[in-house]
């Protein structure tokens, strides 16, 4: 415990650094994935290709990507930008499939009816398709938030500061409290961002709350619970 009290400054600093690494990566991967997901949804043939590429991306060991990336981007090894790019790539790998599913999940009838009442193609995308894909996109975003915050710690192995530095340092010095602090803070940070995303989702998509209220009141399937 002694460690924690004498290092509050450093811990606070690392939390900020960690945020600065993961938040841009989360936002970037979301922004990049939505159009890719839309492509996969819109053009069936591209779906297989895009989703396989994502699976491939996902299979790259993080450590390897952190090292190989500078060779491609030309950035310094220690540049946090590398890490942000790598995390973004992983985020994209995670979220693209969900994004495609999100657009698939929008009911055709609703789109048809939007067309029928006179939405233009662009108007329909922004006004109908995107918001209605929102709930599923949000679920994808939440997975990305959690996994990105957690994955960002691996950068510490190659010397990019983050909450992961508490693991490597605690490991060298044999301070378990330090590692535990890192773990707890990583989880807390992930859950905090996740909570913010949920909150944002509620604000931006008020109809989902209304829908949930009704879904809850729909009568339970009689037999599932009843006759067992």
């Amino acid at each position: 415990m002694n460690w924690l009290w004498s290092n509050l400054d450093r811990v606070g600093e690392l939390v900020l650094v960690h945020l600065a690494l993961s938040v841009p990566a989360i936002i970037l991967s979301f922004v990049v994935s939505v159009p890719i997901g839309w492509l996969a949804h819109r053009y069936r043939w591209s779906r297989g290709v895009l989703l396989s590429l994502c699976a491939l991306l996902y299979a790259i060991p993080s450590l390897a990507l952190f090292i190989a990336l500078p060779a491609i981007t030309g950035l310094g090894l220690r540049s946090p930008l590398n890490l942000v790019i790598a995390l973004t790539l992983y985020g994209v790998a995670v979220i693209v499939r969900t994004a495609a599913d999100a657009f698939d999940a929008v009911e055709r009838d609703v789109l048809q009816s939007a067309t029928a009442v006179g939405y233009s193609a662009a108007g329909r995308f922004w006004g109908v398709q995107l918001p209605l894909a929102g709930p599923v996109l949000l679920s994808g975003l939440r997975v990305v938030i959690v996994s990105t915050v957690s994955l960002a710690t691996v950068g510490a192995v190659i010397g990019v500061q983050s909450l992961g530095s508490l693991f490597t340092d605690g490991f060298q010095r044999g301070i378990q409290v330090e590692i535990a602090t890192g773990i707890v803070l990583t989880i807390a940070l992930a859950l905090l961002l996740d909570w913010l995303a949920v909150l944002g989702g509620r604000l931006l998509m008020p109809w989902t709350r209304a829908g949930a209220a009704r879904a809850g009141s729909v009568r339970p399937v009689a037999a599932a619970v009843e006759a067992s």
Partner: protein, 284 residues
């Protein structure tokens, strides 16, 4: 207040105009950070402005940054640094190493005075092992009949003082198990649990004493001496150099072990450890 760096600042933009700010770096290693902190606080005591860019990582990462001028002061170790520039160096003793190092540094970089404190690779065995096999020196290992496995960071496998060196210099054959905590608690645990019989631990590591390990002597000079030494850029003025030299001179090998112990055993922060030591030594 993020002293150790704005995360989006890669540190490659060295000359940001304010000539009085001096950038101090450190390895991603607690002991090195403490020394860097000593320099930093000493300089601050004397009215200089310091920008701390600590915990940068391995040598291959930060050396280019020192060379590019992004970092002005960096605590180093003479032997290890020399090997970085001259992998097949023949120098062994403190003075030889220091002398050769001065010549080996690229233009624009220099080392200040080296400190008496050393922190170099050393091979350690448990007291039990030492007594049972009657081993106190690397040369004695020849007589050990049971197989010996050496534990240390993976790079040790290819270093001149690694298994190859042991074989060529002392004629000892050892196995090798990589353990990636730079001679930290995991290495120690592996040794104590007899998963490995000999480990590479930095000589200033307080765990050697705390665990009653036996550091094997190195009569043939397998390891080069490695004293603490600051590498500095041209931005470091004579006044600054004086301050740092004063610190270096005051730092004894025992001090370094004690400082490390404060970090590992008492879990104090580098900042606190440095402050207390400077106060105790009453340097400025």
């Amino acid at each position: 207040g993020c002293a150790s760096g704005d995360p989006l600042d890669s540190g490659s933009d060295g000359g940001d105009g304010s000539s009085e700010t001096i950038v101090i770096g450190s390895q991603d290693y607690y002991s090195n950070e403490i020394i860097a902190e000593l320099y930093a606080q000493a300089l601050e005591e004397n009215g200089f402005t310091v920008d701390r860019q600590f915990r940068i990582g391995q040598r291959e990462v930060y050396i280019p940054e020192i060379e590019s001028g992004a970092i002005d002061v960096f605590p180093e170790y003479t032997g290890n640094l020399l090997q970085y520039y001259v992998p097949d160096t023949e120098a062994k003793t403190s003075d030889d190493v220091y002398a050769e190092l001065e010549g080996a540094l690229p233009d624009g970089l220099r080392v200040l005075d080296q400190s008496p404190a050393t922190d170099q690779d050393s091979y350690n065995v448990t007291r039990t092992f030492s007594e049972e096999n009657d081993v106190t020196s690397l040369a004695d290992l020849k007589n050990v009949t049971t197989p010996i496995t050496l534990g240390g960071n993976s790079e040790l496998a290819t270093r001149p003082y690694g298994p190859e060196g042991l074989k060529s210099v002392y004629g000892v054959e050892v196995g090798f198990t990589p353990i990636e905590d730079s001679g930290g608690p995991l290495t120690l645990k592996a040794l104590v649990d007899d998963q490995v019989q000999m480990v590479n631990i930095y000589s200033a590591d307080p765990n050697i004493k705390a665990n009653d390990l036996v550091t094997l002597e190195d009569p043939e000079g397998l390891f080069l001496a490695s004293n603490v030494v600051p590498v500095v850029s041209e931005k470091v003025t004579d006044e600054m150099a004086d301050v740092i030299n004063t610190v270096s001179a005051a730092l004894t090998p025992e001090d370094l072990v004690a400082l490390n112990s404060l970090s590992v055993n008492d879990q104090e922060s580098a900042d606190q450890i440095a402050k207390d030591w400077l106060a105790e030594k009453n340097l400025f």
